[in-house]
Amino acid sequence: MKLSRFKLKIGNRELTLIITIALIYVFMCFAKGELFYARSNIEAIFSNLSYDLLLACGMTFVIILGGVDLSVGAVLALSGIIATLMAQSGIPTGVAVLAALAFGLAIGCFNGLLIAKVHVAPFVATLGSMSICRGMCYVLTSGYFVANLPEAYLNIARGSFLFIPNKILISVLIMVALAILSVNFRPLKSMYYVGANGRAAFLSGISSDLVKIIGYGISGLMAGIAAVLMTGSLGMGHASYGLSFEMKAISAAVIGGANMAGGEGSFLGTALGVILVALVNNVFIMFNGSPNWSGAISGIMLIVAVAIDVIRNKIRERRTA
């Protein structure tokens, strides 16, 4: 019986989130009617959470590995600036985009290298690269916007495919792909092993160091992709992009059930976490909530979501006992 309880626990957090999201959705449909469930509103919610979704994806990997990546927000800003500066100066769009992605990947791998090979604490290593990247943003731009971007560059984020905006399409596709791959694709599945028990994974013939570097690399890459989408959508690059995005990404992953101790985390959960926070943000504005509190939403949702989960478990335990 003790064992079968574990089986029930699969998807527990996801279930909590789905129920919460559904309740909020239904409530809002009644309270605000068409204003809320209009296609354009849903589309707006999704297109605005696309950056969060990408960063939270990368963060989920890092958390599964038992680490944390504070640099994503700054990497996003710097990748965006690199891409926009290149695009602005007439370098072909493809090259600019690739440069942003490559840069994100490189910084991620650098973090991974410090953490895996030199055994620097993830918090410290990524905090260091966070300051460096954020500082470089200002060094490169002096705080000015990088605007006047070519049409081709802007269209990556602004275009749409089969009536779905590219931004949503790209981020959701990447999310789904990673979610599926993380279950079945060996190199990604290895992350769970490394996060659960690094020493055992190493002795089982899994190259833990490489896996860690890849994990942080993916996190950086996601920041690079988000940078291209964000700069394209807003039509400009700026050094202040992505401020405190790392905190949002961590919150979303934890709301989705990722365990900071490593080895646990689900991409579906993370996606639901991102959606929940975005939805509550939307509700908050729909009801003209005080601007003072908008920053606290993801923190409050984190505590609420986890508390609901804990209470649900307690009730279930009492019932089975």
Binding site: F6, F185, R186, Y193, A200, G263, T320
Partner: protein
């Protein structure tokens, strides 16, 4: 009147009943051993006495008065101390701090008296016959030494009832002998000792009484004159265990698969030669700290080598990492299953395929879930893992013996041609032990070369075909196992010069 009496103790975790109506009496100045298979409830019972768990029903009666304890601190206040199975030494603190954790000698204002603490620690360590500097950082000591510190830590609290949970599993025989002398001494001073062990010979040697637990029920208590191995085993497993060890290799002329020449690593081992033949089990014996595990890890590619060469099938090879070794069919089953063997929070099926992920995925790298389930189910059946539907359980929820079986399954699934097993039966009960021995033999018979590192001499003698002895980082002797006596091996351990060229 008994010092300590347990009356109708019952304890369950969730729906899992661990102890049922257990009654026991412990007398003053007596060594009372408790034995039972893994999962029989010994550790739970001890934790109830030690104030870590509370019984669901039943009473703990001390000096005739029922007591209720909520924490280890209260247990200490009643004069009950436990030496835990898992070391509870904090590595980054000094030995003295560890000995006096939570009961540091203090001045009036609550400030620690370091001078007194160090000298008291010195005295406490001397009491258990250890000459350890109390200001040394505990993490720098060997595991055996740490165990001694752990024992000193409990004895220093002047306990009346001392519980030792598998204290000798990390000790060399010499250290264990020393421990038994200490226990004898304490016994004479009137301390009641409760001793838990898997090692029958130890128990018979030192106990005044033995209580046997099976599936949470006490099946009986034997006094000194009634004790013998066969009786105890029968009470533990509920049946006779036919032969204790499997037969030896049927054929001894397999070719050499893995061999080495002059392996050295600074401060770890020096000039080690060995050869492993197909179909044969090579036992590697030595005291804790002899460098056996280090040699295995270096051969396996987990640690570097300073000098020497390894040959696989006659060709020189050097594994850069464990993954390299595994790819070449050389596997290493680690000594500590929780720390470096299994992924305790992951599912059984995920653990089983963790060393052979490459072989259960398509060329593009996608895992074949059907195949994983198939492999897992096969091994669960083959190794008789309980419960039989545990494929999706977390490892944490299995008993120690079953965890060890999963560890075996994990490495068998990697289809090795050479299997190095490090302490394969540590902390495993008699039933599972003999099962593991016969698995090892079966693997060897199927053409695998097995190297078995063990600190249990009877196991080495009973299971191996050849025995290699190591001492202080050197190979001191090599024997044919047939007809080998414990005495010969121990002589080889202590006469270093004899074995060296």
């Amino acid at each position: 009147m008994s010092v300590l009496e347990l009356k109708n103790i019952t304890k369950s975790f969730g729906a899992n009943k661990v102890l049922t109506d257990v009654n026991m009496q412990f007398e003053k100045g007596e060594i009372h051993s408790i034995i039972g298979e893994n999962g029989a409830g010994k550790s739970t019972l001890m934790k109830i006495i030690g104030g870590i768990y509370r019984a669901d029903s039943g009473e703990v009666i001390l000096d005739g008065k029922p007591i209720v304890m909520h924490s280890p601190i209260e247990a200490y206040a009643h004069g009950i101390g436990i030496v835990h199975q898992e070391l509870s030494i904090v590595g980054n603190m000094t030995v003295a701090q560890n000995v006096f954790v939570n009961c540091e000698p203090v001045y009036k204002a609550g400030f620690i008296n370091w001078k007194k603490m160090n000298s008291d620690a010195k005295a406490a360590l001397a009491e258990v016959g250890a000459d350890i500097d109390p200001t040394e950082i505990a993490g720098n000591l060997s595991v055996g030494m740490q165990q001694i510190v752990e024992i000193a830590k409990v004895i220093a609290k002047k306990v009346r009832i001392l519980i030792l949970d598998e204290p000798t599993s990390a000790l060399s025989d010499k250290e264990a002998d020393r421990l038994f002398e200490i226990l004898d001494d304490l016994k004479k001073k009137g301390v009641s000792i409760i001793f838990i062990s898997h090692k029958l010979n130890e128990i018979i040697r030192i106990s005044d009484k033995v209580s046997v637990l099976r599936d949470g029920v006490r099946t009986g208590t034997l006094t000194r004159d009634e004790m013998d191995e066969a009786t105890i085993i029968r009470m533990m497993v509920g049946r006779d265990l036919g032969r204790l060890y499997p037969p030896r290799a049927s054929s001894r002329d397999g070719q050499v698969i893995l061999s080495s020449k002059g392996l050295s690593r600074k401060n770890k081992f020096n000039n080690i030669d060995f050869s492993l033949k197909k179909g044969e089990i090579l036992g590697v014996f030595g005291l804790v700290g002899a460098g056996r595990t280090e040699v295995a890890l270096s051969v396996f590619g987990a640690d570097g080598l300073d000098e020497g060469t390894v040959y696989l099938n006659g060709e020189e090879i050097s594994f850069r990492s464990p993954s390299d070794a595994v790819a070449h069919g050389v596997c290493y089953l680690s000594e500590d299953r929780k720390i470096s063997g299994l992924f305790v929070d992951m599912e059984v099926r995920e653990n089983v395929v963790s060393a052979c992920l490459r072989s259960v995925c398509s060329r593009a790298g996608f895992l074949n879930q059907g195949m994983i389930s198939q492999i897992t189910d096969d091994y669960i059946k083959e190794l008789d893992v309980h419960p039989s539907d545990c494929s999706r359980f977390r490892i944490r929820n299995l008993s120690g013996g079953n965890q060890q079986k999963i560890l075996f399954a994990k490495w068998l699934a990697a289809k090795p041609s050479v299997l190095i097993v490090d302490e394969p039966t540590r902390g495993v009960d008699v039933g599972a032990k003999s099962m593991i021995h016969s698995i090892l033999r079966r693997l060897a018979e199927s053409g695998m070369a097995v190297m078995m590192i063990s600190s249990e001499l009877p196991e080495i003698l009973g299971v191996s075909d050849r025995v290699m002895v190591m001492s202080e980082g050197r190979k001191t002797a090599e024997f044919e196992a047939e007809g080998l006596t414990e005495e010969t091996v121990m002589n080889a351990v202590f006469s270093m010069d004899g074995g060296l060229k």
